[in-house]
């Protein structure tokens, strides 16, 4: 049985990434944390993501990528989303393996947050940090309901 759904989440990835196990895992994970998770499959263009945000109107957008191109294409995605969405602004987070080198994690986190992401989840503690974030997000969603 699924728990009650307290927030709407759009789960997406970048255009070059055909991996899906990360998305399958996260969809279950978000649902278990009280989210209604809509998933767009693999290899999603920024335009598809933006269109889905406009029609689905999620509270949270999760961009997950593990092919090492997530930094560049994730940056493109947030830039396009910020430009196209106007005043409607869900929370945006991004995570996974976003470059091919672990040592990049610190500076790419800063850069992606400057570009518009609210949170970036990379490295060993990514799942743990995302869990804490989701618990807090759910609390806030329940309060605002």
């Amino acid at each position: 049985m699924q728990p009650a759904q307290h927030f709407k989440c759009l789960l997406t990835t970048i255009e070059s990434d055909s991996h899906t196990w990360n998305l399958v895992y996260l969809q279950r994970f978000i649902q278990e944390h009280g989210g209604l998770a809509k998933i767009l499959g693999c290899c999603v263009s920024p335009r598809e993501t933006v269109d889905a945000i406009k029609s689905f109107r999620p509270d949270l957008v999760v961009v997950s990528s593990v092919n090492g191109h997530g930094f560049h294409q994730g940056r493109e995605l947030i830039t396009k989303a910020v430009q196209s969405l106007g005043t409607y602004r869900p929370i945006f987070v991004v995570g996974g393996k976003l470059t091919t080198a672990e040592e990049d994690n610190k500076w790419i986190s800063d850069d992606l947050q400057k570009a518009g992401y609210d949170k970036v989840f990379v490295g060993q503690s990514a799942i743990e940090d995302f869990t804490s974030f989701l618990q807090e997000f759910r609390q806030q969603a329940m309060v605002s309901c």
Partner: protein, 387 residues
């Protein structure tokens, strides 16, 4: 590319060369590889459409021949141009399939991939005397798929190739989570192939485990050895090996040579086909019945196998666990039972025989934390950790 192929060709045991295409060619972009080549940038595979026919023939000169067949591996759901180029070069062996190269890795509608593969089979079948295609249906997403649906899709794809003019095929099967279940599955696969592919020239190709790989050298080596042993004991005619570096990086030529030798040595130490234990025979019988039911249901839908496949996915009769493609119903999931065997957790509308002994439908679907454990089950087992 030639360096790797000639190193493999020089090995003292029977080997097949592999020409793996780059990811631009995979999505039908033949211009970007040229830009990369002009700039001296590396590609992650061989751009067979971008290179001229002469360039590829020169690259293969003195290597490709009756003693060293070369198979082109491409990963594309729309392979017409790749197959045309194969024929121009004089190559005749490739792999994939309308389902197995569409649903797991692309967003192309299944109907379009089926049409494209029908055309591609005719291109290869009409253009080469010994056209051969290996169905990738026995691998699909690489892990967490019950053996019966892998076998059913692989055999259905082989029948599709046959219907479209390719009469020499191979049936893939990816090593799963239990050697006993795999022995039973390959025995069932051979019996079913004998039954359904009697008009075709066929053989079985075993893949070393395709999912999350052990990160330790010892664990990875042991998993590769187990796959080689499995292949030999079950009379698989061909196998595709991974390297101990799988979990970390793209393997070098030396890594590949090491793994090929490791597999060959392991297989050479086994001198007979294994008689199945009673547990393995029970797996064989269950998987045979499940796969046969699936194949017969699907084939009963239409005389055209492409239409059968499309209808079957549409109705959820074929439904690949954890596959997110829009043409997959997505009502199934799989788990690993306490004996290590892959089982259906939710079977959706997949027509499974009602009387199967083991078939216990779980109350709960697989949770996210269970899924993580399942994905890492083999890696943890071989790395010597507890799940």
């Amino acid at each position: 590319m030639r360096l790797g192929l000639s190193a493999v060709a020089k090995l003292e045991f029977p080997v097949i060369g592999t020409l793996t295409l780059d990811s631009y060619t995979r999505v039908g972009d033949y211009r970007t590889p040229q830009v990369c080549l002009d700039k001296g940038e590396k590609l992650n595979g061989y751009p067979i459409v971008t290179h001229s026919v002469t360039a590829t023939r020169n690259m293969l000169e003195g290597l490709f021949g009756p003693n060293f067949p070369v198979q082109v591996r491409h990963g594309t759901a729309l392979p017409q141009n790749v197959f045309r180029r194969l024929v121009e070069i004089g190559l005749d062996a490739s792999e994939g399939g309308p389902v197995s190269y569409c649903l797991p890795y692309s967003k192309i509608p299944l109907s379009k991939a089926i049409q494209a593969w029908a055309e591609s089979c005719h291109i290869l079948g009409d253009g080469s005397e010994c056209a051969h295609i290996e169905s990738f249906g026995g691998c699909l997403l690489g892990q967490l798929c019950p053996p019966s649906i892998l076998i059913a899709i692989a055999l259905l794809e082989c029948l599709f190739f046959h219907q479209h003019g390719v009469h020499s095929v191979s049936i893939s099967y990816a090593q799963g989570t239990s050697l006993m279940q795999d022995r039973g599955a390959i025995a069932a696969l051979r019996e079913l192939a004998g039954q359904y592919l009697s008009d075709l020239d066929w053989h079985v190709v075993l893949y070393t485990y395709m999912g999350v790989f052990p990160s330790s050298f010892e664990g990875a080596t042991s998993l590769i050895q187990d796959s080689a042993q499995l292949g030999k004991e079950t009379a698989c005619e061909r196998m595709i090996v991974k390297t101990p570096q799988e979990a970390r990086q793209i393997p070098s030529v030396d890594d590949n040579i090491y793994s090929l030798r490791l597999a060959s040595t392991t297989a050479n130490n086994i001198h007979s086909i294994r008689i199945l234990s009673s547990q393995e025979a029970a797996y064989r019988d269950e998987i045979f019945l499940e796969a046969q039911t699936l194949i017969d249901e699907v084939l009963s839908l239409n005389a055209d196998i492409g239409k059968c496949l499309l209808l079957a996915f549409n109705k959820g009769l074929l439904d690949i666990p954890y596959c997110l493609h829009m043409d997959n119903a997505g009502r199934t999931s799989a788990y690993i039972d306490p004996d290590g065997a892959l089982r259906w957790a939710r079977s959706g509308s997949v027509p499974l025989p009602p009387n199967l002994r083991y078939l216990r439908r779980r109350q709960n679907d697989v949770s996210s934390s269970e899924l993580l454990n399942l994905l890492n089950y083999v890696a943890n087992k071989y790395d010597g950790m507890t799940c």
